[in-house]
């Protein structure tokens, strides 16, 4: 009998090579499993990236988590400034920025430089105001109602439709992509699991002999775990490169058709790390999950 120490030792290079051999023994199945996983990861990635960029543009467009509360004209500037504390007490309001009439006028003329008509306006026609930042967009209507009840506030402006539109789009997109990603994960895991089950079937004689001579379950299992791991990692690598190419192509196409730069897109250089990380994480989870489902049953006795 050979050293008892071997019971727990992890012979990485052996298991890894056996895993590779397993993969090579079913080139077509492994190729299919990897391709499917690549497809799943790409769909997952594309969905997420579209969602991220859309959300970015929508919120920039509407600035919709900001509402404007106008202060009663009868109040002195000092009284107006003192309102800040009251406004911050309203639940869901996270910041209150005071804007005096003069500042408001200046901002307005700067934003509309071509409208000469407005260039010499009297600040008196503007009101002092607060720009309030809202934490939870979904409760914006309720929060607006509470702000309106603060003494000294005469009017509140907000983009109600835009806000609820964004919330709806965001929620629907999140649910749809979560469901889609979930289904794709199950499908990938299933395909990898079937590929590995095929390998275990091919190697059933070897497995039976390993058991009879006293190999541990762990020893028998590891090559299949590496097989799944390798498939997941290879799929993640390929999917990452394809996602990168796809993103670059789409970015170029949009830039070419969008002379006014209405739509801004995050550069890939800013998102590659999370993309790579989640692809590898998901690839490994699917690969190892697949192999564990495949070998769970046949290791009893």
């Amino acid at each position: 009998m050979w050293g008892g120490a071997a019971m727990g030792k992890h012979d990485f290079s052996y298991f890894f090579q056996e895993g590779l051999k397993n993969m090579a023994s079913h080139r077509l199945m492994s190729f299919t499993a990897i391709s499917m996983t690549v497809g799943c990861l790409l769909i997952m990635g594309t969905f997420t990236l579209v969602a991220v960029n859309t959300a970015l543009n929508l919120s920039a467009l509407a600035n919709s988590n900001e509402i404007v509360a106008y202060v009663d004209e009868a109040w002195t500037p000092e009284q107006a400034r003192a309102l800040e504390k009251q406004l911050l007490k309203v639940p869901n309001v996270t910041a209150a920025r005071y804007i005096s009439k003069e500042e408001a006028l200046q901002a307005y003329t700067e934003q509309n430089p071509e409208e000469e008509l407005f260039q010499d306006l009297d600040p008196g026609i503007f009101r002092d105001r607060y720009a309030l930042t809202i934490e939870n967009l979904e409760q914006i209507a309720y929060t607006v109602g509470q702000v309106e009840r603060v003494p000294g506030v005469v009017k509140v402006n907000y983009y109600e439709e835009m806000a609820s539109g964004i919330v709806t789009v965001r929620n629907v997109a999140a649910i749809v992509s979560a469901a889609l990603i979930g289904v794709l994960f199950v499908v990938s895991t299933f395909i990898i699991s079937n590929t590995i089950r095929l390998t275990t079937y091919d190697r059933r004689e070897e497995i039976a002999i390993m058991k009879i001579v006293g190999a541990t379950n762990g020893f028998i299992r590891w090559p299949f775990v590496y097989e799944g791991f390798l498939m997941g990692v290879v799929a993640a690598g390929i999917a990452f490169l394809l996602q990168w190419g796809l993103y670059a192509a789409v970015t170029d196409a949009i830039a070419g058709n969008d002379a006014q730069r209405l739509f801004s897109i995050l550069p890939f250089s800013r998102i590659w790390a999370p993309v790579l990380g989640s692809f590898f994480g998901a690839g490994m989870a699917v690969g190892i999950g697949g192999s564990l489902t495949a070998i769970r049953r046949f290791l009893e006795v």
Binding site: M1, W2, G3, E205, I212, V213
Partner: protein, 230 residues
């Protein structure tokens, strides 16, 4: 040491394969286990390897109690055994050398141990020049010796052979038995399951005779009894 105490085994389909056997095999013994077909010989082999558990009674193998053994310890128990099957169970796509290195690897032997051990075992079984052959390229006798080589390569304290001469002509069978006797003389306990009456009588070893799941004779010398065999 192998010890069966009041062992009964009923298969799931209700077949009472072993009906109450008590049997002790000391370290270093050579034992023939004989009996007609269906008398329970292979069932005893499966009990000894832990493939099946007794329905009743106790089984002790080289210090492990099969009833109380932890899952983790089953591999350790199996490492004390070398099993030879009638149908060899060699991996056809691996060479003889790889069939041996594979089972050494499976119990954690280092590449150096493997390189030292395999040539010695192949030499013992007169398979020196067959190391790079695959099983289908070997004769029946050579395949049988390769199967024994694989059972021996992990240096077990007990070798169990289930009908090892089943596929061999009489001369080859005698040769194989001599080999098993030689292995026994080197200190290994040997249990040989067979129903080859002439062969058993030739060697003058302890013979345990089974019939219908019971031990009917246990004595040194001859294959006695057995209403039917074959």
């Amino acid at each position: 040491m192998i010890r069966l105490k009041d062992v009964e085994l009923v298969y799931e389909n209700g077949t009472k394969a072993i009906q109450g056997i008590t049997l002790t095999i000391e370290d270093g013994e050579f034992v023939f286990l004989v009996g007609p077909s269906g008398s329970g010989k292979s069932t005893i082999v499966k009990l000894l390897t832990g493939e099946i558990l007794p329905t009743f009674g106790r089984v002790m193998i080289n210090g492990f109690s099969i009833m109380n053994i932890k899952d983790r310890q089953i591999p350790l128990m199996r490492r004390t055994l070398g099993v030879v099957y009638q149908d060899f169970r060699l991996i056809e796509k691996k060479t003889v050398y790889d069939n041996l290195s594979f089972v050494m690897r499976a119990v954690g032997a280092s590449p150096r141990e493997i390189k030292e051990r395999i040539p010695r075992v192949l030499h013992l079984l007169d398979l020196d020049d067959k190391a790079q052959c695959r099983p289908p390229e070997l004769s029946g006798g050579e395949q049988q010796r390769a199967a024994i080589a694989r059972a021996l390569v992990n240096n077990p304290s007990t070798v169990i052979a289930d009908e090892p001469t089943g596929n061999l002509d009489p001369d080859r069978s005698v040769e194989l038995m001599r080999l098993l006797v030689k292995i026994n003389q080197m200190g290994t306990t040997v249990v040989v399951v067979t129903h080859a009456r002439e062969l058993v009588n030739r060697f003058g070893k302890r013979v345990v005779t089974l019939d219908e799941g019971l031990v009917t004779h246990d004595a040194v010398g001859r294959y006695v009894g057995g209403r039917r065999y074959g």
